[in-house]
């Protein structure tokens, strides 16, 4: 009786409060949150408070001096704009490529389908670092150093997205597409007018994960950009670190807050979708 899920409430009564589990949860949450709190607090501290020998946990005043210094030391506005542009365009195009490729793999007749699918899947196994030197050489030859296309294009191809969209399309009932075909809709219309709207939750989930990845991308933009005004946020952040020998922790932490806050806010607002995007690849297996 206690085993039936409908009676879960009753079953629960009988078990003692699982203090061990609560303790584990509390520790896990504290370990995850406290470093972030420390970062935010440090952003408001003046140097005396940061370099004080019994540690000073809280800033005496909440003022934005460090933020002003960070913004004045490096072109933060540019970083932000560059990150936004490369993220939106990069993730947007990647979604489109993933959707069209998945459509082709599922709904089009073509003899080399298996091969194309293999090409997409195997690419998942190739780490970016393995190919940075040839790609850097190519981008340099094209004159794309310090350009948006140089940052975006080499990482544009969609492998994981294609895989996920294919999985999703395979679960759709055939009747949807048959109805569209009866209407005389071409393949292009079928994809964008029929499939994309009914796949919105999946697409949103994959898109959000892709946006996060794009926003945080570091190695490639670091290689292909050396002019400050073309840098993205993560690259620009290290510029601040390298400015002088000794780290100015207050300023650096203020800048780190500026980089992480938008992502954290977006994450907490959209966490359901992001979480389903992150788990999408695993649970289908």
């Amino acid at each position: 009786m206690g085993a039936t899920t409908t009676q879960a409430g009753v079953a629960r009564r009988r078990t003692p409060t699982p203090w061990g589990s609560y303790l584990t949860l509390a520790v896990a949450v504290a370990v995850m949150v406290l470093p972030l709190v420390w970062m935010v607090l440090a952003g408001f501290k003046d140097p005396d408070e940061i370099y004080s020998s019994p540690i000073q946990w809280l800033p005496a005043t909440v003022d934005a001096t460090n933020y002003a210094s960070a913004i004045n030391a490096v072109p933060f506005g540019n970083f932000f704009l560059n990150s936004a542009i490369t993220t939106v365009i990069g993730a947007g195009l990647k979604m489109m490529l993933g959707l069209t490729t998945a459509y082709a793999l599922v709904f089009l007749d073509f003899p080399l389908k298996k091969l194309v699918f293999g090409v997409v899947i195997f690419a998942l196994l190739v780490p970016q670092q393995i190919v940075i030197i040839p790609n850097y050489t190519l981008v340099a030859e094209l004159g794309w150093i310090n350009t948006y296309q140089g940052i975006i294009v080499p990482g544009l191809a969609s492998a994981f997205g294609t895989f996920l969209f294919r999985q999703h399309f395979l679960t759709l009932p055939a009747s949807i597409l048959e109805a569209a075909a009866l209407d005389g809709a071409g393949h292009w219309t079928r994809l964008w007018r029929f499939l994309v709207p009914i796949s919105a939750p999946t697409i949103a989930a994959v898109a959000l994960v892709s946006i996060v990845a794009e926003w945080n991308e570091y190695l490639w933009p670091l290689l292909v950009v050396d002019r400050a005004e073309m840098m993205t946020l993560p690259v620009g952040l290290t510029l601040l670190q390298n400015n002088d020998g000794m780290a100015d922790w207050g300023v650096l932490m203020a800048a780190t807050v500026l980089v992480t806050a938008p992502v954290l806010i977006a994450f907490f607002a959209l966490q359901k979708r992001i979480v389903s995007g992150l788990t999408a690849g695993a649970v289908t297996g």
């Binding site: 995850m32 993933g98 089009l108 997409v120 670092q129 190919v131 055939a174 290290t238 780290a247």
Partner: protein, 330 residues
């Protein structure tokens, strides 16, 4: 291309489950005139259509993944500095150099320690977190969100904020250790402590992902089993080992491959915190590829390291696939 629809009217026939083959596939029932022939020679329209839909993506994969993969193989046989117009073919000299270089054993050791600690540690901690999060306790929803949050943050930002936490003079760890009367290790200048620091930070950032995936898998395990496993005290560990763990097999396999790939690629945390130092204490093979290629400019040598690493990666992945064929029950 008209569809020969047999949907509503001919409901009697055993309709073959054709999945989603698009229009003119063979209508299963009935002696259809000659539909087979139409499929045999792919009309140019079908080629064009497929090219339009899948072509751009495949082209990008070829240009920026497959071609460079081969190029990298070729570069590895050259003595060539990046940006230089002259390159000298040296055969396998770069490989020989790497295997005999005095720093190589250290780099292999660092790579192994970092990879095993982040992949193994991440899976163990992630599974434990998932088991706790899977219990119906107050606040597990919020806790799950918090645990995953660091995963979406920039590795550079995470590295920098932890660098301050670990500051041997003014950081949190130093203050906490002082509370219990200990001196802070020199996280910045001691190679071993630096490696430990980088591993801890990597785990902090990524363990939420593992927990999340395990949690999703656990939620598809019949609840009674898990509850039984966690309540029954003495037998709990055994029932967990013999019931829940096998059911998590496919997930563990998936995570083993994906976390191995991400761990081997980790760059931003190392770059932000230690730049491979001190004394090479955090230089993994992946970091060496970057260092040799872009700091020392030895593109040929760097490509050789990349090729070796990729070969190892392929071997490990295929070994895992082989293993899973025999061991994991779907």
């Amino acid at each position: 291309m008209e569809q020969v629809t047999d949907t509503p009217v001919v409901s009697g026939g055993p309709r073959e489950r054709t999945g989603h083959r698009s229009p003119p596939s063979t209508p299963a029932a009935g002696p259809a005139p000659r539909p087979v022939q139409r499929r045999r020679r792919t009309p140019w329209k079908a080629w064009l259509l497929f090219l339009l839909f899948a072509g751009p993506n495949v082209a990008l994969l070829v240009i920026f993944t497959y071609k460079p993969l081969l190029q990298s193989l070729y570069y590895s046989t050259l003595q060539w500095n990046i940006g230089s117009a002259v390159a000298m073919p040296v055969g396998f000299q770069n490989y020989a150099d790497w295997f005999t270089d005095p720093t190589t054993p250290r780099i292999i050791a660092v790579t192994l320690v970092f990879t095993l600690a982040t992949v193994g540690g991440g899976m163990v901690i992630g599974l434990l977190l998932a088991l706790v999060l899977n219990r119906r306790l107050r606040g597990t929803g919020a806790a799950r969100t918090v645990v995953v949050a660091p995963y979406v943050l920039s590795g550079v930002a995470v590295g920098l904020l932890w660098l301050f936490v670990f500051d041997p003079n003014f950081g949190v760890t130093a203050a906490l250790l002082r509370l219990v009367g200990l001196a802070s290790p020199d996280w910045y200048n001691d190679p071993q402590w630096a490696l430990a620091m980088v591993i801890v930070v990597y785990l902090w950032k990524n363990v939420g992902y593992v927990a999340l995936i395990y949690l999703a898998a656990l939620q598809s395990v019949p609840r009674d089993l898990v509850e039984a496993a966690s309540i029954d005290g003495a037998t709990s560990l055994r029932s967990f080992r013999s019931i829940v763990l096998p059911l998590l097999g496919p997930t563990t396999f998936f995570l083993a491959i994906t976390t191995l790939l991400t761990s081997l690629q980790s760059f931003d945390i190392i770059q932000a915190m230690t730049k491979g130092g001190p004394l090479g204490g955090t230089t993994t093979m992946m970091y060496q590829i970057y260092q040799e290629g872009f700091q020392s400019g030895r593109a040929g040598y760097s490509s050789a390291v990349a090729t070796i690493l990729f070969a190892v990666l392929l071997l490990v992945t295929f070994a895992q696939l082989k293993y899973v064929d025999r061991k994991v029950h779907y």
